[in-house]
């Protein structure tokens, strides 16, 4: 058992599903069979269009679903599955193991409390620091993200957008988490500030050994920050691999379209320019979810759902990695293998 825990990844997400109850008894299947692993110091990007389930995936990793939601699967921190404990099972791990920088940090702060108070709050709640120690740590954190320590006594509305984003990062680091989930941390910021925030995140992962899951719809941001990337479409991960592998040899037509829609990797072009729209997740999807928009769609795509499978060594991954036939379930020492869920991709390989 202990040996298991020692070899277990820092964060392991497997077979994750999330459903939201809608008015009228319908159900929206927002996250479908998502699997991810994160190791210390690793930086993984999660990209996809609006509504593809990125935020929901991140929130589920912290157990932060609303009461209208149902979830299935495994979310394990150092081998310990937190899902069976529901809301309360996650609570002691929040902020101490996994912390999050929320989408739209503008509203992530309580407007009637000072920024310093809000950064210190989780330290006191989890007992990691109290009184003057907490105060000192707040100052230290603010300086770490490049905000003068004196700003601790100010209110969120007195901060600029970039400052608030930095403060949100400082707040996330308060209890020295091992895993940081950053949900669109740079959307709505101008390019200069965006680059600074991304640099800061990269630096923190190196210095503190943080594992980072960076959620964004912008491949440019991922390319700038991450080693690995997972592409989400309609609640599923459709392709996964090292950023350079995907950049040069994307297998999934959706990934390719995403790259095509991002002409300049450092620009802030939105991804929304792929023709068509994603399926309604409140209805069951038959076959491949991307089929209606896919230029490569053919017969099997209509009724057979493609599953995530490794891409052949000759097409994508560097020489010397595992052959195509190896089963998916076998533990891999190479976390960044290139996987894709596409009939067209595998048929291309077969020929």
């Amino acid at each position: 058992m202990t040996a298991d825990l020692a070899t277990a990844p820092l964060l392991e997400v497997a077979g994750l599903h999330v459903w939201f109850e809608l008015p009228g008894g319908r159900e929206l299947h927002a996250v479908q069979d998502v699997a991810l692993t994160l190791e210390a110091g690793q930086r993984v990007g999660l990209v996809g269009e609006s509504g593809s389930g990125k935020t929901t995936t991140a929130l589920t990793i912290m157990g932060l679903l609303p009461s209208s939601a149902a979830a299935a699967g495994r979310v394990a921190v150092r081998g310990e599955d937190l899902m069976p404990g529901l809301e309360n099972g996650f609570r002691s791990h929040r902020w101490t193991d996994i912390a999050m920088v929320f989408q739209g940090a503008m509203n992530a702060f309580n407007p009637v409390r000072t920024v310093g108070w809000q950064i210190a709050e989780p330290m006191i709640a989890h007992g990691t620091a109290t009184g003057s120690a907490a105060k000192a740590r707040v100052a230290e954190l603010l300086e770490l993200v490049g905000i003068p320590a004196a700003a601790a006594t100010r209110y969120p509305h007195e901060f600029s957008g970039g400052m608030r984003q930095r403060a949100a990062i400082a707040m996330a680091l308060a209890c020295e988490p091992k895993i940081l989930l950053a949900d669109e941390p740079t959307t709505a910021l101008d390019v200069m500030v965006q680059a600074q925030i991304l640099d800061l995140l990269t630096r923190l992962c190196g210095d503190l050994g943080l594992a980072l899951l960076l959620v964004t719809h912008d491949l440019g941001v991922v390319a700038q920050t991450c080693d690995d990337v997972a592409v989400m479409y309609a609640g599923e991960i459709v392709e996964r691999g090292r950023i350079d592998a995907l950049f040069h040899d994307a297998e999934h037509p959706y990934t390719r379209a995403l790259f095509a829609a991002t002409p300049d990797l450092y620009g802030d072009e939105p991804v929304a320019s792929i023709p068509g729209s994603p399926p309604d997740l409140a209805r069951p999807v038959v076959g491949c979810a991307y089929r209606p928009r896919c230029p490569l769609a053919f017969a099997p795509c209509v009724d057979v759902r493609p599953v995530l499978a490794p891409v052949s060594a000759t097409t994508a991954t560097p020489p010397g990695t595992q052959p195509l036939t190896e089963p998916l379930t076998e533990p891999s020492t190479e976390p960044a293998r290139h996987l894709v869920a596409c009939h067209a991709a595998s048929s291309a390989r077969a020929t």
């Binding site: 791990h93 929040r94 929320f102 739209g104 992530a108 000072t114 709050e121 709640a125 209110y155 509305h157």
Partner: protein
Amino acid sequence: MRGSDYLVKRSAFAVITVFVAITINFFLFRVLPGDAVSNLARIPTATPELRHALRVQFGLDKSAWEQYWLYLGQLLHGNLGISFANQQPVRDNLVTALGNTVPMVAIGTVVAIVIGILTGVLSAVRRHTVADHVSTNLAIAFYAFPTQFLGMMLLILFAGLLPSAGMSDPFALGDVSFGSHLADLAKHMVLPAATLALTLYGENTLIVRSAMLETLGEDHVLTARAKGLSRRAIIRKHALRNAMLPTVTMIGLSLGSIVSGAILIEVIFSWPGIGSALYQAVLQRDYPMLQGGFLVITVTVILLNFVADLAYFRLDPRITS
């Protein structure tokens, strides 16, 4: 900087509103067609001497503008005229009445606010549970019952158990110590204050509940949850504090309901306060009293509104800094 701006703005608003109220008061009684003073025949108690006194008192021989300035000048000196009914200065009548009204209304209102906050918060944090349904529907019911209906029901229910009219027992001779006087007053106050609390609490519950629900939908509550705080801590340190803001505003706006409740209740329980004074003034066509009563109540409400503004100022750092 912005904080002082806010204070100046709200003070100016309060002052101007008082002025608007005074002006409405003046024009309502003298300029509108069928206005009060020119129609002296409608005053049942009018004798020739009184008519003459009135002409002098209202300066009816002068132009409307002169009268207006005269009126403002008299107000500045605290002169509200002489009551038709008891020939006493209106100001003295109103001071006595206000002194009787304030304790009863204050107790009823405070009870209503406390119960309203407790049940509203409970409803919101237990949204969609049985407790929420019961508490919300009860609040709607008490919001819906007419004040006079609740008052009369309490009168019938507690007939013989609690005093039903006035502020003191007129036959309580002999023992006139301060303590027994106070106890007598308290006994008389139970029913009117309880009626007021019942009519007001429902609205307060509904206000607090929706303010609280809106707060619980704000993003920073999700942040608080993500930080691993307990439900209690989130409610205590984030939701309650933030929901106080809309609650203060809305309770400020519901001052009107407090006033109408108080007037009806004073009539029902013969409580010799400002509401009764207003009612008597209507019955006896005692226009100086009516005018004075309107002014006193309105100015009080405006001042309380200003107090609510100040409370908001203290509670919301977005204004202060």
